[in-house]
């Protein structure tokens, strides 16, 4: 064998190259192919030279397709004068990486969907988030059709590159979109390939969308009832909905449906609560010659804690009957009970105006109520405006306070049993009749005022002594100002803490 001076012998090169696991194509300095190893021959049965991109610099890597295979090619300097092209089949590797990327994209999408969908308890915002999320990764246009609110029309929201649009359609028009009526009824989705996109009606898509290539209609499953449907459209010429996407859409639709139906339920409940709480809202107080009436009712902040404080001023031919009460418990039941008491009083007042008799009647009515624990505390004040005389009956409620024009504060000596509480029906009442001189003021309040927790420690009750002291500083002030001041002092005591209902009502004889 000759000695080697410039380059290894062909035999040595062949031995090295054949041993390599990668495909190797070796060229000499002029670019002529010197060697093609077995791995390269197997990878590229045909013309290997066409795969070699001579424009590449040594050290550079590129990928090139060969039929349904994908090859990664790297150009290197080999020895002193030769050039080597290393070939590797990366078809499977790339497919795995693509699958992983797609999986990550889907996971990311669902995470984002979860985040956005849980951010609202508003039906429209949830539907909007659903449509907007679905545009992009899932479709060119996404429409959420909400469950029909009434019998005739149903609302929709649509997101596409035309932006967000919304509107409504007659319920019967759902039949025009293949699969939509079934999806709205909660039937499982059918594969996209079964739906003829050319049947899509014009109203389904934004103006200028162009021909639809693929349609996918998926029900939005709610809590036991369908929460609407999601219609996805892709343009003609684009990729269809593959199995992975259809699965992803179903998972997404399940989340969106849960969010929308929770929002629908929440809004129905809030609406119910608002109606009930509306019945508790104090009515405007009447204007009475020679008297000033002023009231304040602060409800507990939480909707679920609709409280039971209420007040009313009911006109009678002899003068107004003022009432302030507190029903036991919280929430809708308390609101209903308070409404019952107010309406009972209004009706009873047509027959009876004496506070003591009214208390007995209401007590009997409450005891015969179907609702268990219909307990109520009540103050009734029958005002005779001419003489400034007020007949008072108090049942289970803090006694009203009397502020004299000179600043003296007295507790009215009236008390009585909580109404609706004692099964025998017997209640004991000690009524009072007081006379207001010009400048005197009678204050009715609920225990939410005196039982307000706050102060320096945050655990101290406001108490009736603080209320009396505060009231004593209000001599000479108009009734509205007195109520505002007492409410302000009490709020300061609470210092933003949680509070129960608080009611105040002042009756002042102005002259």
């Amino acid at each position: 064998m000759d000695s080697v001076t410039h380059a290894p012998s062909t035999e040595v090169l062949r031995a090295i190259v054949e041993a390599a696991a990668d495909g190797v194509v070796l060229c000499d300095a002029d670019g002529a192919v010197v060697l093609v190893n077995a791995a390269a021959r197997e990878m590229v049965p045909g013309d290997v030279i066409s795969l070699l991109d001579r424009a590449r610099e040594p050290g550079e890597t590129y990928e090139t397709a060969l039929g349904d295979r994908l090859l990664r090619v790297r150009r290197e300097i080999f020895g002193i004068v030769h050039q080597a092209w290393y070939l590797r089949d990366v078809t499977n590797e790339t497919a795995r990486a693509d699958a992983l990327r797609a999986e990550r994209e889907r996971t990311q999408f669902l995470v984002e969907a979860g985040r956005r969908l849980s951010a609202s308890l508003n039906t429209r915002r949830c539907a909007r988030a659903t449509a907007e999320l679905a545009t992009g990764l899932l479709a060119d246009a996404a429409m959420v059709v909400l469950p029909p609110g009434g019998l005739r029309r149903t609302a929709w929201l649509r997101s596409s590159d035309a932006g967000l649009e919304e509107g409504d359609i007659p319920v019967a028009h759902a039949d025009q979109v293949p699969g939509l009526a079934e999806a709205l009824a909660g039937f499982p989705p059918v594969p996209s390939r079964w739906l003829d996109p050319h049947q899509a009606p014009e109203w389904l898509l934004p103006a200028g969308f162009g021909p639809v290539g693929h349609l996918l209609v998926t029900p939005l499953p709610g809590n036991g009832v369908p929460a609407g449907a999601l219609v996805l459209a892709r343009r003609e010429g684009g990729a269809g909905f593959d199995d992975e996407t259809e699965t992803l859409v179903r998972v997404f639709a399940a989340r969106a449906g849960a969010a929308i139906s929770a929002a629908v339920l929440y809004q129905e409940q809030s609406a119910t609560n608002a109606i009930l709480a509306g019945d508790l809202r104090p009515p405007p107080l009447p204007v009475v010659e020679g008297l000033e009436l002023a009231g304040s009712l602060r409800s507990a902040q939480q909707t679920a804690l609709i409280g039971g404080d209420f007040y009313d001023a009911l006109p009678t031919p002899d003068g107004p009957l003022v009432t302030l009460g507190d029903v036991c418990g919280k929430g809708p039941r308390a609101a209903v009970l308070a409404g019952q008491v107010r309406h009972s009083l209004r009706a009873l007042l047509l027959l009876e105006r004496d506070p003591e008799q009214l208390m007995h009647l209401i007590n009997k009515a409450l005891l015969s109520s179907y609702t268990p624990r219909s307990h109520v505390t009540l103050v009734l004040a029958a005002i005779h405006p001419g003489e400034g005389v007020i007949d008072l009956a108090v049942a289970g409620h803090p006694a009203p306070l009397l502020l004299r024009a000179d600043g003296a504060v007295e507790e009215v000596d009236a008390r009585g049993t909580l109404l609706g509480a004692i099964k025998s029906g017997a209640i004991s009442l000690r009524t009072a009749s007081i006379e207001l001189a010009p400048g005197d003021l009678l204050l009715l309040y609920s225990d939410g005022i005196t039982e307000a927790f706050g102060g320096p420690t945050g655990r101290e009750m406001y108490g009736s002594d603080r209320l009396k002291t505060a009231l004593a500083t209000c001599a000479g002030m108009p009734a509205t100002a007195v109520v505002e001041r007492l409410e302000q002092l009490n709020s300061d005591w609470l210092a933003g803490g949680v509070f129960d209902d608080r009611a105040l009502l002042a009756i002042r004889r102005s002259r």
Binding site: G329, G396, H397, I427
Partner: protein, 110 residues
Amino acid sequence: METAPFLIEIENPEPDTTRLTLSGDFDYTTSADLAAMTPTLMTSALRVLEVDLTGVTFIDSSGLATLIHLYHAAEEHPAEMRFVGMTPYIAHLFEVTALDQVFNLPTSAA
């Protein structure tokens, strides 16, 4: 506002006597515990039900309603329900609601 936890302790000092010792805030959120327990307290041996409210820091109308319910349950059983301890705050509350004329209250606190 931080609330004191509501606790119910049950003892049987005598075979026919059950003593309930309540403590903490007895309100809308906690009164359901005692309400749920009421039927189970009415055992066939029960003749006297003692209720100690010394440790109760706050009662709202729901708490009062639950006590009234307990009182009615005892009356129907029949068993005698007595309050054996309470703070001036609760004594005042019973006075305002005139429940002092219904319930058996300890003479010292009333």
